[in-house]
């Protein structure tokens, strides 16, 4: 129990609860099932992407191309609608095609990062621009709305089970699946290991290039799933709709306790990070705070969280260094 309180995730949960109770007083609407479900459903895309980003940040890398990749898959989906018949099979096929398209783009990032060893920020900045440029060239920046969507897809996106929207189940499946990979498979443990100490991982025979390739490919795979969620949620494909979303995703992961130096991060922490960002946004809307101020507050919280993280990291390093020479 003691270790539970010590965990970083616990302090995030505490902040989430604190803000929630304040919001409950400020606005009676906040603590209603309807508002909370809306809030979560509206953040499913960010949640799925943040889960993928968690693995990348654990290996001390970063991927800024996620929003562009998701948009590219969403645009591909709108073209696929033209070829696929209007039936349930097509919805299932979509769940096959979209992740694979994302996976291919993720593999491209991963190959450049792991085999050619270009820093991930450079690679993904490059692919961000390439993909975003191609998307605008192909679509002319045109918005595709739901009139051209097959009826089967629209009814899929409206499914509710036990009063909970289908997209929330999708997020739950992704979260549990990724948690299982991270906790219970060899590749998942290797992700944590190379984040903890790359040199040690080479010495114990972990193929760290393969692990890096995996995290970027998996990110692309999840971006494909996120693209379905985005299309289902907005019932439209907007080539400009997700610009800058990668920053929110990274912010959620970092708020959720993942260490930007690698080695630390968890799925439940990331989900709490997403939730924290979401209720802050929601709360500020309910409190009628100007949109511009919302960005300022969100940004400030991210800077404070990362500074706190960096300071405590430095302290722990100093402490370690001292132990080594004192002994």
């Amino acid at each position: 129990m003691k270790s539970l309180f010590k965990q970083k995730e616990f302090s995030i949960l505490a902040i989430v609860l604190l803000i929630s109770s304040i919001l409950t007083f400020v606005s009676p609407v906040f603590l209603t099932v309807g508002n909370l479900l809306d809030l979560i459903e509206g953040n499913v895309v960010i949640g799925i992407l943040a889960i993928g980003m968690t693995l990348i940040i654990i290996t001390s890398d970063i991927d800024v191309s996620v929003a562009a990749v998701t948009t590219a898959v969403a645009v591909s989906i709108s073209y696929l609608f033209g070829f696929l018949p209007d039936s349930w099979i097509s919805v299932l096929l979509l769940f096959l095609f979209a992740p694979v398209i994302g996976l291919v783009m993720g593999l491209f990032n991963g190959l450049l990062v792991s085999k050619i060893e270009i820093p991930a920020i450079v690679v993904t900045l490059g692919t961000l621009n390439i993909i975003a440029g191609l998307v605008l060239y192909i679509t002319n920046g045109n918005y595709v709305n739901s009139t051209s969507f097959p009826q089967s897809f629209l009814s899929f996106s409206n499914i509710e089970i036990l009063g909970i929207p289908i997209l929330i189940y999708l997020l739950a499946i992704v979260a549990v699946g990724t948690w299982f990979i991270l906790k219970h498979t060899l590749i998942g443990r290797s992700v944590l290991a190379i984040g903890g100490n790359t040199q040690s991982s080479v010495r114990v025979g972990i193929n760290y290039q393969r692990v890096k390739l995996f995290v970027f490919a998996y990110m692309g795979f999840l971006a494909g799933i996120a693209a379905i969620a985005q299309t289902a949620y907005t019932k439209a494909v907007d080539p400009n709709g997700m610009i800058g979303l990668e920053l929110t995703v990274i912010a959620a992961v970092v708020l959720g306790g993942a260490n930007i130096h690698g080695g630390r991060g968890s799925i439940h922490g990331t989900l709490l990070g997403v939730l924290l960002l979401a209720i802050m946004q929601n709360g500020m809307i309910l409190a009628r705070i100007d949109t511009y101020w919302q960005n300022v507050v969100t940004g400030a919280i991210i800077v404070i969280a990362v500074s706190y993280d960096q300071i405590s990291y430095k302290r722990s390093q100093d402490k370690l260094a001292n132990i080594e020479v004192e002994a």
Partner: protein, 517 residues
């Protein structure tokens, strides 16, 4: 069956520009503790990295495990042969639990999607810890353990692998004396179980306490292997230092000039303690000792980049306060670091740009732009006086040989016209001919009035260049002598705490230190 668990023969390793190992051999018998010994840079680490599969030897190398021909291409090959290596800096994962750290690597090479068997991990790690009689909760994260405990976790990992040969690279260098005793007992226990151990250490006393046999390396060459009862400390020191390449010892008279630089009571917790010395005009002061004795840390503190706890400095009789490298440069102190490629040079830039770097703000013309003409003239002057070859001022520094790169680094600092030049391992990784040139250059600078402090592990170099020599051990000055009284053996004794009597006092000192902190 062979008596030997491991035989390595004809091991050579060439790094660009340097032959790190030249036809070295190493033979370890089953169940013995085998000491691998040599000075800093003798090639011990390179040899171990070849055994570990991290470096590949030059063609012609032969490996035999238990008498059978073997190949080690990557780390997993060594692991599968039953070789575990415990590096000085350890190979642990601070963010993972003790259990996982012990188990990790066993599944390497298996399918990525293989499910991790937590029960198995728990069972294996608990068993290994029990065998070692270590009382640590297997769910603790390794970052919460002390260094001594971490080391035991590494040994537990080796046991969990059922290793037949464990290499320990200076395992006692960061342990307190009671922890050291415990480690000795573990080593005894392992060898009683038939596990062979290669033990690398600079502490002669512990090697005589633990080892059955010694293999001595010197300058990347194999000197010999000796049974413990055929050798004593004096002979061992002799084998370690008696080298074929020697420089002429500096014959200069003791300098009696004015004191130009004085360091008083420098201390930094965990780095060095109570360091005081003076530097006279025209003098080269050599500071030597083992790696980790605190020499570099001291130099960096004088230069202001490693914050000292206390101490004061005087230059030409005037107290100076140096808190940053910027202060140091302003007061006329220059520091040439050991890693000249990463810390001393901008490799992609031309020789000119490198040399003018410290004084670039003084090369302005009347429009406050950099006056390229003055810059080129100044650089050419240093290229000529330091004899940088090829003397092409526009050549990027990366195209120069190690010796010429070092000259550029020195030229760079000379352009700032320092009063004191501190130079760390000036000839590391430089070939013999160029070494002599650098030595002459350092002597010349001293004769021209710059106070030179040279840190070096290479004893012939210390004797060839210095007028006076300070030896450091465990963060303290353990010996000071004029060059005309110095010998390699004498220095080595001060550095190691060589003979029995002195060693007793070291142990006491060390206990005192650990009580203080």
């Amino acid at each position: 069956m062979s008596d030997y668990i491991l035989q390595m023969k004809n091991i050579s390793k060439t790094f660009p520009g340097v032959k790190a190992l030249d036809n070295v051999q190493l033979e370890v018998k089953k169940g013995e503790v085998h000491a691998l010994i040599g000075e800093n840079g003798a090639g011990k680490s390179t040899l171990i990295k070849i055994l570990a599969g991290i470096h590949q030897p030059d063609p012609g190398a032969e490996f035999y495990f238990e008498g059978k021909d073997a190949e080690i291409k990557k780390p997993i090959d060594a692991t599968l042969k039953g070789v575990s290596i415990i590096y000085q800096d350890l190979s642990l994962f601070p963010n993972l639990s003790v259990a996982e750290n012990i188990y990790i690597g066993r599944d390497s090479g298996k399918k990525a999607w293989k499910k991790v068997n937590w029960k198995n991990i728990k069972r294996i790690s608990e068993k290994a810890l029990k065998e070692l009689e270590v009382d640590v909760d297997i769910n603790t994260k390794v970052e919460q353990l002390s260094i001594a405990q971490q080391q035991l976790i590494e040994i537990a990992r080796a046991m969990a692998f059922e290793s037949k040969l464990i290499v320990m690279d200076e395992p006692t260098s960061s342990l307190s004396s009671s922890e050291v005793e415990k480690l000795y007992r573990v080593v005894d226990k392992l060898s009683a179980q038939g596990i062979s151990i290669i033990f690398i250490s600079h502490k002669l006393k512990e090697l005589f306490r633990l080892s059955d046999r010694f293999t001595v390396l010197r300058d990347g060459k194999y000197v010999g292997s000796y049974d413990v009862d055929t050798i004593d400390e004096a002979k061992l020191v002799n084998l370690m230092v008696g080298r074929e390449v020697t420089y002429e010892k500096n014959q200069s008279q003791v300098k009696t000039g004015e004191v130009i630089f004085e360091v008083r009571d420098f201390s930094k917790s965990g780095n060095f303690k109570d360091i005081s010395f003076q530097l006279r005009e025209g003098e080269v002061l050599g500071i030597t000792g083992l790696v980790g004795a605190g020499r570099t840390e001291l130099a960096q503190s004088i230069f202001g980049i490693n914050k000292k706890d206390q101490g004061s400095l005087e230059i030409h009789g005037e107290p100076v306060d140096i808190r940053s490298s910027e202060d140091a440069v302003k007061k006329g102190v220059a520091y040439v670091p050991e890693a000249r490629q990463t810390q001393g040079l901008v490799l992609d830039q031309s020789i000119i740009n490198n040399i003018s770097l410290p004084v670039i703000d003084k090369l302005n013309n009347k429009f406050k732009f950099i006056d390229r003409k003055i810059e080129v003239e100044m650089a050419q002057q240093y290229i000529k006086s330091l004899d940088v070859r090829p003397s092409l001022p526009e050549l990027p520094a990366s195209k120069l040989s190690g010796g010429n790169q070092q000259k550029v680094v020195i030229g760079k600092w000379l352009s700032a016209q320092p009063k004191i030049l501190i130079i760390d391992e000036p000839t590391n990784g430089i070939d013999i001919g160029a070494k002599t040139e650098i030595h002459k250059l350092l002597r010349r600078l001293a004769n021209e009035g710059i106070g030179v402090i040279m840190i070096s592990s290479e004893l012939p170099e210390v004797l060839a260049v210095s007028d006076r020599i300070l030896v450091m051990r465990n963060g303290k000055i353990s010996g000071e002598m004029d060059v005309n009284q110095a010998t390699q053996e004498k220095i080595m004794n001060y550095a190691l705490g060589g003979n029995g009597k002195q060693h007793e006092s070291v142990v006491i000192e060390k206990e005192k230190v650990s009580q203080e902190v």
